[in-house]
Point group: D2
Chain length 351, copies 4
Amino acid sequence: MKALVYHGPGEKSWTDVPEPKIQKPSDVVVRVDTTTICGTDLHILKGDVPAVTPGRILGHEGVGTIVEVGSAVSQLAVGDKVIISCIKSCGRCSFCQQGNFAHCLGDEGASGIGWVFGHLIDGTQAELVRVPYAETSVYKVPETVTNQQGVMLSDILPTGFEIGVQYGQVKPGDVVAVVGAGPVGLAVMATAGLYGASRIIAIDLDTNRVEEAKKFGATDGVNPASPEWKEQVMSLTDGWGVDVAVEAVGVPQTFQMCTEIVRPGGRVANVGVHGKPVDLQLQNLWIHNISISMGLVNANTTPMLLKLVASGKLNVDNFATHHFKLDEMMDAYDTFGRAAETRALKVVIDR
Amino acid sequence: MKALVYHGPGEKSWTDVPEPKIQKPSDVVVRVDTTTICGTDLHILKGDVPAVTPGRILGHEGVGTIVEVGSAVSQLAVGDKVIISCIKSCGRCSFCQQGNFAHCLGDEGASGIGWVFGHLIDGTQAELVRVPYAETSVYKVPETVTNQQGVMLSDILPTGFEIGVQYGQVKPGDVVAVVGAGPVGLAVMATAGLYGASRIIAIDLDTNRVEEAKKFGATDGVNPASPEWKEQVMSLTDGWGVDVAVEAVGVPQTFQMCTEIVRPGGRVANVGVHGKPVDLQLQNLWIHNISISMGLVNANTTPMLLKLVASGKLNVDNFATHHFKLDEMMDAYDTFGRAAETRALKVVIDR
Amino acid sequence: MKALVYHGPGEKSWTDVPEPKIQKPSDVVVRVDTTTICGTDLHILKGDVPAVTPGRILGHEGVGTIVEVGSAVSQLAVGDKVIISCIKSCGRCSFCQQGNFAHCLGDEGASGIGWVFGHLIDGTQAELVRVPYAETSVYKVPETVTNQQGVMLSDILPTGFEIGVQYGQVKPGDVVAVVGAGPVGLAVMATAGLYGASRIIAIDLDTNRVEEAKKFGATDGVNPASPEWKEQVMSLTDGWGVDVAVEAVGVPQTFQMCTEIVRPGGRVANVGVHGKPVDLQLQNLWIHNISISMGLVNANTTPMLLKLVASGKLNVDNFATHHFKLDEMMDAYDTFGRAAETRALKVVIDR
Amino acid sequence: MKALVYHGPGEKSWTDVPEPKIQKPSDVVVRVDTTTICGTDLHILKGDVPAVTPGRILGHEGVGTIVEVGSAVSQLAVGDKVIISCIKSCGRCSFCQQGNFAHCLGDEGASGIGWVFGHLIDGTQAELVRVPYAETSVYKVPETVTNQQGVMLSDILPTGFEIGVQYGQVKPGDVVAVVGAGPVGLAVMATAGLYGASRIIAIDLDTNRVEEAKKFGATDGVNPASPEWKEQVMSLTDGWGVDVAVEAVGVPQTFQMCTEIVRPGGRVANVGVHGKPVDLQLQNLWIHNISISMGLVNANTTPMLLKLVASGKLNVDNFATHHFKLDEMMDAYDTFGRAAETRALKVVIDR
C-alpha cells in the first residue's frame, strides 16, 4: 500500500510500504477514507519530535472503514465506518480508568502517552492503518455525519473543547478570550458556546483570521499589534479582565498575554504546544486567584461532540478549506505548510 | 490606646495612638483579646509591601469582643466574642457574590483586594480595631472554642485549606506533597485529611520541622537536600508522581520542585507569596495535563472550619508555640522573627 | 398610592393604600415601572397560600426606579433603574453565605424563606414598593436591556435556569425533556442551551404550546395524550431515556412521567409547585442511579442571566404576550387568569 | 467442584457442580479464597428476585487467585490475587465510558445491569468462578491487604461510599445522619470522614447497633423509637436539619424519616433496596431545595478505597463478626440469616 513516510528531518515521501496486520486480539485494521494534516506533523518533519524515527508513517487523524477485526473485538465489525481518535485508550490502566486517556499506559509504546499514531506506531496518512485497543479508541460514525465532519473529531474539536473550554472551566455568562485563531483556536471558539460564553474574543495578528473567527463563534476581535490591545480587551469586560484566557499559539509572548488579561479568579487554559520555558510573573500573579491548565487531549468527549455534530448543534463545516485525494498527499502538505499564504485551515484528504 | 505601629522599613513601635471609631453604619469596633504575627508582617517591616505606609497599625489576625456597633448592624451585638477574618467582605460586590472575597471591591482601600487590616487600614495588633462590613467579616466564636484556637482561623487555617487543599482539588485517596513545613504548610497538612488524602508528604530542609509535621497529619517526610529526594517522593506514589503538590515557601526553586513531582493529571497549588518570576518549563509540562493554582485566601470556609474545630474534628492546638501579653508585643516580634532559632510557629498574644 | 390588594380567597382590588417608607438602614423604596403576574399570584387568590393574609399587596416581579435609599445603602442611588428579584437576600446569614438565598434567614418574616414580596411583606403590583436588604436583592439594569426583558429576570428566567437546568445538571450533549410548556417550562427550554443540550423535547397536552416552544429552543415536541408518547420520547434518545427530565406542571402524573423517561444515571428536576404527595416508585427506581431535585429559586444567577440578555445571547422577548398599564391591573389579571383561552404567557404591566 | 446453588424459593444446597471454563478472550477463572454473604442473597432465597433462576450459584463478593486467563487478557496473570467486584464492567459501552458501570451493557445478561454474579451468571460462593471482562472487573490485592479486608471491597465499602457518601455529596463540615446501622449503613459511616463530615449520627432501633456504630465513625446515636427522635437529631445540628440523610434500610418509613430531618439545601441519599413505592411529600418538600439520589454501586471507586485500606487510612476490620470455611457455607447462611440474634455483620468464609 501507499503511505506518507517520514525519513528524517525535512524528508518525507508518499511511497510503498507493507500492509498492516492484526497484532493483538483487541486490534482492528481500518481502510482510511479521509485523513488530514496537523500542525504537529509539520513539527515532526522539522525534527522537533525525536520520538518519531525514520520510517514512521505519519498522521493521527482519520475516518475509515474497518476491514479486519481481532479475536477479542465484539462491539465492532468489518464494514463499520469509524472515526479514529488521535488518542488510543486501553480502557484498563489507572489513567484510562480516570478518563485520562492522554496518559494511557497501554503497551503501544509504553510511554504513558496516549498519542501513538504517527508518533510511536504507524499513522493514518496511509491506505490502511492498524488501530490498537480499537473498541475504546474508535467511534462509529452515524449516517448523518460526513467524513469531512468526522475527521475534525479525531483531534481538533476535542482538543479545543477539552483543553480550552473544559480545562478553562468556561461557564454561562463568561467572557472568553482566545489568543491564536488557527484551527485549534477556532475549535475553542466553536465549542465555547456549549457552556454559554457571553462573549468570545478572537485575538490574532492576522486581521483576516480575526474576521474569519466570527464564523466560528467569535463575537469580537482584537489585533495585538495595536498598542491599546489590552485596553481593548478590558473594555469588552467589566474592566477587571476576561474570565478565561486561552493560549492557542505556543510561544512565551502569547502565554504572557493570557496572564495579563485574565481577571482575578479567572483561568488561563494553555492549548498551544510549547518549545521553550515561559517566565511566569508569579510575584504579581500569586495574589490573583487564577489557575493555569495545560495538557494533551484525552478525547473522552468525542462521543458527545459527535452527537452534537449529528444533531446539527455544532457546526464544523467551516474548518475544511482545501480538498485533495490520498495520492495528492505531497500537494496537500505543500498547501498546508504554506497556510499563511494559502489561508488553509484544515486540508481534507479523501481516498 | 496602645498599638504596634509601622514607621517605615525596619521601624516599628508599641505606642499610643487614638482609639478607632465607627465610620460607617456597617462597622463595628472590637476589643482585641488575642492576636498573632504573620510572616507577611515581617515582609511589611522589611519594606516589601509599598502599599503599607508609615503610621499604619499592623496585624490581620485576631479574636476579640465587640464594644460598639454601627447603626446598620443587626446580627452582631456589643459583647459578642468574634474571630476577625484577615479578609473583609462587603457581601455585595460582584466578586463577593461569587465567593471571591479576596478581591472584594468594597470601598476600604478600593483596591480590589479583600486584605485590608494592617495593610490599607489599621490592623489587629492593637487594643482596639475598627472592622468594616462587620456582619460579613467576623464570625461569632462558640463557647467550646478557645481564643488560641480561634485566632488560627483568622488566616492560616483557611489559607492552608482553601489555597492548598481546595485549589489543589485534593480528593479521597490522593497523595499530597507539601513543600515547606512552616505555619501555612502545616495548615495544609492539617486540613488535607478533610478530603481523604491517603498520604501527606512533608518536604522541608529542616529535619525537625519534618518530624514536627507528623503531629499535623504528615504521614511521610522527605529532605530535599538529599540528591535522591525526588526518587524518595516518587517511591511513595505508584511511580508517576503525587496527585497534588503544594508550594508553601515562595521561591522559584520550591515552585519548580512541585512541577517536577506532580503526576500527569495532577495539580500544583501555590500557597507561597512570591517576590520573583519563576521559569515555567512549559516545553515539558504542556503535555502533562496538570493545573497550577494560586491566590489569596477568600476566607469563605472560615465558618465551616470553625464548626470542625468546635466539634473536635480539626486539631489546631499544635500551632501555638509561644505566648505573650499585648504589651510584650515587641518581644513577640523578636521571637517570631527568629523562628529558625526559637522554633516558633505561631506566637499567641493575649490581652 | 394604588396597589393590588388581596382581601381573602377570591377577593382582590386595585385600591388606595399608604405609601411604603424606609424601615431599616438597608432598605430602598422603588417606583414600579413594570411588573407582571405569576401563576403563584393566582394560587394565592384561591386561598392556597395561608401565609398571605388579607390586606397584603401582591406581586414579586418588577423593574423600577429607586426613589429613596436607607442610610446604610452605598452601592445604590436614587434614580437607579433596577430589577427587583423575587427572592430577597440578607447576604449575611448562613444560608445566604452558601448561595442558598431561597432560605435566607433575614428578619423580614423570619421564616427561612427568601420569597417575601407579595407573601410576607407587600409586593410589586403597586406604584411603590419597599425592598429590604436592597444591595443584595436588586440588580441595576444596563441601558441596553428593556423593562420588558428585565421583568423576566425577576423570577421566571432564574427559576427555569437554576431549578430546571442547573439542578438538572444539564451538560453538553444532553437530551432534555421538559414536561409542561408554560412560562417556567419555556424558561427551562430557553436556558438549557447555556449548557449545550443536544435536544430539548417539549411535552405538553396543548399542541399550540408545543409548537410555540420551538421559538424558545425546543427541538422536538411530544403530546402525552398519545398512547405512544413514551416511545416517542425514547426514540429521540439512544433508547435508554433522556439525560434530564424537568417537571414544570406540579401534579403527580407529570412527576411520574419524568421518572419513567429518565435514563439510568439521569436527573429529574422538579420545578413545579405541588399541592399533593406523589407516589415514588422506589421499588423500580432505586437501581436506576437517578437523582431528583426540587426547590425555590435562589436567584443567585440573575446577574449572569442579565449579562447574557444584555449581550443578546439570551432571547427573552417571546415571553411577553399581552401589555397593560398599572391602572388596568384588574384586566391584566383577567387575561392572565384565562391563559388557556387568551394564550397568555406573561402579561407585562407598565406604569 | 462445590458451590452454593439456588434451587428456587427457600431451597439451596452446597453441592457438586461442573467447573467453570473460559468462554471469551476477556474472561478469567478465579479460585475463590474468601467470600461472604450479602443481605441480597437472602432476598434471592426468598424468591424476591425473579431474574435468579433455579440452578444459579449465588454470591457476588469474593477475593481469589487467578487460575486461568483468556487470550485477550494481558494485564492479569495466573497466580494474581484479586478482589472480584460485585459489578462487572465491559469498559467499552456508553455507560461504562461515563463511569456508570452499574448499567454496563456488556453482553453477560445484556440487561443494562452491571451486577451479574449470583444473579445472571454463576457467582462467588463456589470453589471457582468465571469472571467476564476481567481486566476491568477485578483488582489486584496488595500484599499488605488481607483477604478479609479485601472482601469488604467487593460490595459494601464501595456501596456505602458511592451511593451514600458521594451521591449524598458529603463535604467538609457536614452533619450526616445514617438511618440503619447494618453492614452498608456502617460502611457509609466508615467512609463519610473521607469528605470531612463534622458529625455522623447513627439512627437505628437496635441500641446495640447504635453503640457498635461508634467503632465505625458515628459520633452520635439516636433511637427512632423515642417520640423525641427528630428533636434529638435537630439538636445535633444548628436547628435546621442535617446536611445529608442516608437511607440504609429499604422501607417507606425510613425513607420518610430522611426527608423530615434534611435541612433546606441538603441531600437525601437512598442506599436501601426497596420493595414498595414511597409517598413523597412533594407538597412540603418542593420548596426545600433538596435532592434525592439512589442507585446501584458502580464500584468505580474500588481502586481508591483499596489504596486507603492499604495505607491504613480506612479501617475495615470491624465488619467481620464470624468466620467459616467454604464447606461450612450452610452454617454461614444460618448465622447470617439470624443476624438480629447472632449479631452478625459480615460472615467471612475462607477456602
